[in-house]
């Protein structure tokens, strides 16, 4: 019984991870940037959800406004900061996003992020769903469905829209894409914006479960990094499978051994896997 309940919760966790790591994969694919500040966007989304809810707005409004705000901030950051190091070596982008993560976390600490707060679940989503003999809170069902729907929407958008075509082209070969007239600057602005907005959505919907404080994104960032490595850096379908694998491992590990030991278990598994399959589940990970 415990196992079945853990499995369901693992799927919930996997869905959140999926939504969160898609942004990480996207920004890596187009800009070749490993974004250490992605966790800070998650924290920012969660905190923004709390601020909006405290100012009297309903949950749904917060769910809409926070990602848009964080997304715009992402566009601004890309224009003002990332654009400065576009042609620098990879090391600089890692250092830059790392510094940015510290900066955002520092600002959040000053804006009330020292205390752990919980976003209230809207009344429509309270209650429990019976799945067979297992009870799962309604909110978690909603959370998973939202994450899966957003993921599908993003994938369809990437496949069918003009923007998606550009993103996929830049992902496959940035130089060739630029030769064909894709404006890399504008594309990167939009990609960072979408990526930040995705992180913020997961932050807001996660806030009733994972709570909200300045460093709430740290742990999920590590899990998301494990996800993208397991799936292969830059591989979308790898990330989808890996998100659920990591989600299940984390929840089962927490259920049976406790949270910290689960994290160690995950790390050992990832290391073991890297010995034989350094390019992820589908062998699509980039090696440059």
């Amino acid at each position: 019984m415990l196992a079945a309940s853990l499995a369901l919760n693992g799927l919930v966790m996997g869905s959140v991870l999926l939504l969160f790591s898609l942004g990480l994969t996207l920004i890596y694919g187009v800009g070749r940037i490993v974004n250490f500040a992605h966790g800070a966007f998650f924290s920012l989304g969660a905190m923004a959800g709390i601020w909006l809810a405290n100012s009297g707005l309903p949950f749904w409004a917060a769910l809409l406004i926070a990602p848009i705000g964080v997304g715009l901030l992402g566009v601004l950051l890309d224009w003002a900061v990332f654009a400065r190091i576009r042609d620098r070596p990879m090391v600089d982008s890692l250092l830059l996003t790392f510094g940015l993560a510290l900066l955002i976390t520092g600002v959040l600490y000053e804006l009330g992020g020292r205390n752990v707060q919980i976003l209230a679940i809207p009344s429509a989503l309270q209650g429990v769903v019976d799945i067979g003999a297992i009870k799962l809170p309604m909110y978690r069902v909603f959370l998973s469905l939202l994450a899966i729907l957003l993921t599908i929407a993003l994938l369809l958008f990437l496949k069918n829209s003009d923007w998606g075509l550009r993103v996929r082209a830049a992902n496959d070969d940035p130089e060739m894409g630029a030769c064909l007239g894709i404006d890399r600057e504008n594309l990167m602005h939009s990609v960072v914006g979408v990526s930040a907005a995705l992180a913020a959505v997961s932050g807001v919907v996660g806030a009733p479960i994972f709570t909200a404080y300045a460093a709430v994104g740290d742990k999920i960032l590590i899990l998301a990094f494990m996800t993208v490595i397991l799936g292969g850096l830059g591989s979308l379908r790898g990330a989808i499978v890996a998100a659920y694998v990591v989600g299940l491992i984390t929840v089962f590990g927490e259920g049976y051994f406790g949270g910290q030991l689960a994290l160690m278990l995950l790390f050992v598994l990832v290391m073991a896997m890297l010995i034989n399959w350094p390019r992820g589940f589908f062998g699509e990970g980039r090696t440059e």
Binding site: I85, V91, L102, Y109, L233, M271
Partner: protein
């Protein structure tokens, strides 16, 4: 083409000269600290902390500056050394000439096992995994909270002894730490000029070509990782004995960020730059954080600014200024 080559050759000769001057100044300044802090023991303790920070910075530069591998979790080894030394001093013997070598051996074994997997990864995966390693070591403190003290930190590390004599006086401590730092700096310069250092640099510049000319890049990277981890653990061990306690803060990723900042601030690969960066940074941090508690904002903002404006670090910026100044002086003379 030949022009640019010549230019880079003069630049590197100027770099060597700047480095030599900087080394002499650092050595002299460091040695003079106990003279003028005699009446202010607090300053001596701050200086000792700066020296420990400098050793950690040097250890990271041995990795980043030599082979170009970027570690975002260097605090893992620093904290590992601190906890292990602290525990060994508490449970076995306070003799530092026994517990420190013990820590080093344990670090070499563990770093070899972990490094074996890590160094086979490409740059980005390596960076991500080192960050994760930092979090794992952090988690380990809480998993083993029965031994490590968990949230409260490792308390009650006994006063260490050297050759059976207790080491208590702050100035004696300072000389020990300063001696280790100087030895590490000189060893680093020696390695840099040795065939091993040249091979490491070749890997940093172009791993593929280094492999094609017959270098065993995997083992060389592993060696650089293990050396770096071991020196960081030594710094951690010294800190635990000096401080008499160790806390999980040592393993926080913010700590890794600080170490990275020392190196970037000072200039990656310059050896002496990160040492200066660490000293300047530690002292600045102490005074700034006594004025404001939003230190993280300034720290993060400054980090971003340095990466954008001065990717070669302050030392790099200074030595390019120096060489420009030198060039114009030579131009005026001729």
């Amino acid at each position: 083409m030949s022009d640019s080559l010549a230019a880079s050759a003069t630049l590197s000769r100027d770099m060597v000269r700047t480095t030599t001057y900087a080394l002499v100044v650092v050595a002299a300044l460091g040695a003079s600290v106990p003279l003028w802090t005699g009446s202010m023991p607090f300053l001596l303790i701050l200086a000792s902390q700066a020296v420990i920070a400098a050793i950690v910075a040097l250890s990271l530069d041995l990795l980043m500056g030599s082979t170009g591998l970027l570690s975002f979790g260097h605090a893992a080894w620093y904290g590992f050394g601190a906890y292990l030394t602290g525990l060994a001093a508490k449970l076995l013997t306070p003799e530092m000439l026994i517990v420190l070598p013990l820590t080093l051996v344990a670090t070499i074994v563990l770093a070899t096992i972990i490094g074996f997997v890590l160094v086979r990864q490409i740059g980005k995966t390596f960076a991500i995994l080192t960050l994760a390693l930092g979090q794992i070591m952090f988690a380990l403190v809480f998993v083993m909270s029965g031994v490590t003290g968990g949230e409260d930190g490792l308390q009650g590390i006994p006063v260490p002894k050297a050759f059976g004599i207790p080491v208590v006086r702050p100035d004696v401590w300072y000389w020990i730490l300063y001696g280790v730092l100087l030895a590490a700096i000189l060893a680093s310069f020696h390695i840099r000029r040795s065939p091993l250092g040249k091979a490491w640099l070749a890997i940093r510049e172009n791993t593929e070509r280094a492999r094609f000319i017959g270098l065993d890049t995997g083992s060389l990277k592993l060696l650089s990782y293990v050396v770096s981890a071991t020196l960081a653990a030594l710094a951690g061990g010294l800190f635990a004995l000096f401080n008499g306690a160790a806390s999980s803060d040592l393993l926080n990723w913010f700590e890794s960020g600080k170490v990275l900042m020392y190196v970037v601030l000072g200039g990656v690969g310059t050896i002496i730059g990160p040492v200066i960066g660490a000293a300047v940074f530690t002292i600045t941090e102490h005074y700034v954080s006594s004025i404001t508690n939003s230190w993280l904002i300034y720290f993060g903002g400054f980090f971003v600014l340095i990466v954008i404006v001065a990717p070669g670090g302050l030392f790099g910026a200074l030595s390019s200024l120096w060489s420009r100044f030198g060039a114009s002086r030579r131009g005026a003379a001729s």
